[in-house]
Amino acid sequence: MWKYLLNRFIQIAVTLFVFFALTYFILDAQPGDITLQYIDNPRFTEEQRLALQRRLGLDRPVTERFIRWFVNTLKGNLGDSYIERRPVMDIIRERAPRTVFLFLTATMIEFFVGYILGKLLAWGRGSAMEYSVTVVGAITYTIFTPWFALIMIWLFGFIFHWFPLGKFLDPNLWRKIPVEAGINANIIFNNLLLTATLVVIVMLVVVALSNKINPRRAIIIRWSGLLFTLTAVFVLWGSYKYGYLGWDIIWHMILPVITLTIINFSGTMLLTRTTMLETLREDYIVAARAKGLPERVVRDKHAARNALLPVFTNLMLTLPFIMAGGIITETIFSWPGMGLTLLQASNSGDIPMVMGAFMFIGGLSLLAHLVTDIAYAYLDPRIRYA
């Protein structure tokens, strides 16, 4: 196991290095640099431009710049963003939680919905319901995301006024807070993130504890556990002086989460359906039926649970892609996360910021691969990493 992990870490390191080198050289191979954006300004002389170029180190050969960038990155210094004029690390630390929170929430809901629907689809194969849900699912899966997101904003934000049009907080609420309170959006946001993580952990523990007891009683325990946890969260946040700011962020998040869920659920749904169709042909399904188990138990415990593994793998592997697809979602909802930052940075030739954002996304997806492999070993007893 340890040898395997070490091996994987070496592979990850090599892959990341090649990835960074490739991206850096591709970015640099494009003509022009950031200093050229001032070239129309008559007060910006050629000497000034060259001085700026020298100051940013853009007059050096690209190999030297890359090696410098890489060595500094290893030391934890990602450089300064050309546009925002502050360390890239600060920007990532500020915006990454927003992206992660939004997309993790959406992905969890999407996975839950997709798994249950896929289970029902495979079970009712050949029915009219199956055809219609599959067609609708394929359409929402391949729907043109920007267009669909705009329709959602137009419908729920503009016509019904249920949800805000974009951004992740309402500045009017923040204006009333005195500066001395020393509170900023990120504190609230990180608290939200912490709360959500705690809720998930508590729920996982409850589910794990109630796994072995009678399903009917387990359902009661699970629901009351969820209710209790949510009440605790509401009481805690309600007693917090700035709790309404947290609610404001959640309120801004609802529409993007609904949109992402509608777009992504059918990926999980169709995959669950496919894998469950395969498990339904196994002998143990026949055996379970022959034992006289109720159909629901056969479906949920014997068929669906064995179909879960590939679905879970796929979920982990697509997680980075969901976040990268976030470049569209974040732009449309003007959600100031990593995707929007990446788009703005690449549109303005801000190489350190692009590299930082890519490091975040690339590192995350490599981590997802690793977690998948380890989780595989736990979920499937046949796989052991010697």
Binding site: F144, P146, L150, L277, F321, H369
Partner: protein, 318 residues
């Protein structure tokens, strides 16, 4: 000559190519039967046929009914209407865009581009993925390692984000985009699928027979392994088309591509002119293109799903 040789007596009445044609016709009909059992595939095929008709109609309409000065998708302008965008009318079935161009004409003109882009990208993807998958399964060892690590590397790159970065640093036209999409997905995740399939073909007896008969490496790869990967290739082509059309639309929507007219650009134009959230009154600016992208993408996806059930015996209903 009264006597005929045994060979001539046994010889088939028809030439060989005719028999082969019959054989493939028979297998096509059988597979079509399997495919047609699945309604979702037929729905997808119907949508594709509809858009094919649209694409072929455009040049004909431009030659006959439509005046190029008014209906040209790129430089056309209807002078008889004062306010653009104008609502759908008998003259312009889907109205005109903010610059006075006919939306239906733009839509139909772009359809052809979407097809070309989708198929070029898909063919590049499949050609690369099939050959690389077969080669790395056949030779194994370091060739396999290099290609699989390369696939991992491309797999970790977020596809849309990478395309956004690439196209914002260099102006891409449609052919370049098709090439980039094809190469990226050809060397990326698709290769892994093909390699896994090729590995199962490698252990079949006919590969060994071919080797015993003295076939060299390339003969075995391209005459025995690759033909057996073809069904899978056809299936993956469908998904590749979906991916390519979607990527083009997304990049056009951000205004990052150097293309004259496409569905994504039509939405971009609408947004740039500020009609996006105005009201339902301007539905004809954004709905035709948005619905078209969605429908064509999902059509190819549905056909792919249906083909999957034909090719993958474990998914068959019987």
């Amino acid at each position: 000559m009264a006597t005929t040789t045994v060979d001539q007596q046994l010889a088939f009445k028809k030439p060989l190519w005719q028999i082969r044609l019959q054989g493939s016709w028979k297998s096509i009909r059988m597979n079509w039967g399997l495919f047609a059992e699945n309604k979702i595939g037929l729905i997808g095929l119907g949508i594709i046929v509809f858009y094919t008709v649209m694409a072929t109609l455009h040049p004909i309409l431009m030659k006959t009914v439509w005046d190029p000065k008014v209906y040209d998708p790129f430089i056309g302008n209807d002078m008889t209407i004062y306010n653009h965008p104008s609502a759908p009318s008998a003259r312009h079935l889907l109205g005109t865009d903010p610059m006075g161009r006919d939306i239906l004409s733009q839509l139909m003109y772009s359809t052809r581009n979407e097809f070309v882009l989708g198929f070029v990208a898909a063919i590049i993807t499949v050609v690369i993925a099939t050959s690389v998958g077969a080669i790395s399964a056949y030779f194994g060892r370091w060739i396999d390692t290099v290609f699989m690590r390369l696939a991992d590397l491309i797999n970790i790159l977020p596809f849309i984000a990478l395309l956004v970065v690439l196209s914002s640093f260099m102006r891409m036209n449609m052919w370049m985009l098709a090439l980039v999409i094809g190469i990226l997905s050809g060397f990326g995740g698709t290769t892994i699928i093909f390699k896994a399939q090729a590995l199962t073909i490698m252990v079949k007896p006919y590969i060994e027979a071919a080797r015993v008969a003295g076939g060299n490496h390339w003969h075995i790869i391209f005459h025995h392994i690759v033909p057996n990967l073809m069904p899978l290739a056809f299936l993956n082509m469908m998904f590749a088309v979906t991916g390519a059309i979607f990527a083009e639309a997304a990049l056009s929507f951000f205004g990052l591509l150097n293309i004259r007219v496409s569905w994504g650009i039509m939405i971009y134009t609408t947004q740039a002119a500020g009609y996006m959230l105005s009201s339902i009154n301007y539905w004809y600016l954004i709905f035709p293109a948005g619905v078209s992208i969605t429908l064509l993408c999902s059509a190819f996806y549905l056909v792919g799903r249906a083909l999957d059930e034909v090719i993958n015996p474990r998914l068959r209903q019987r």
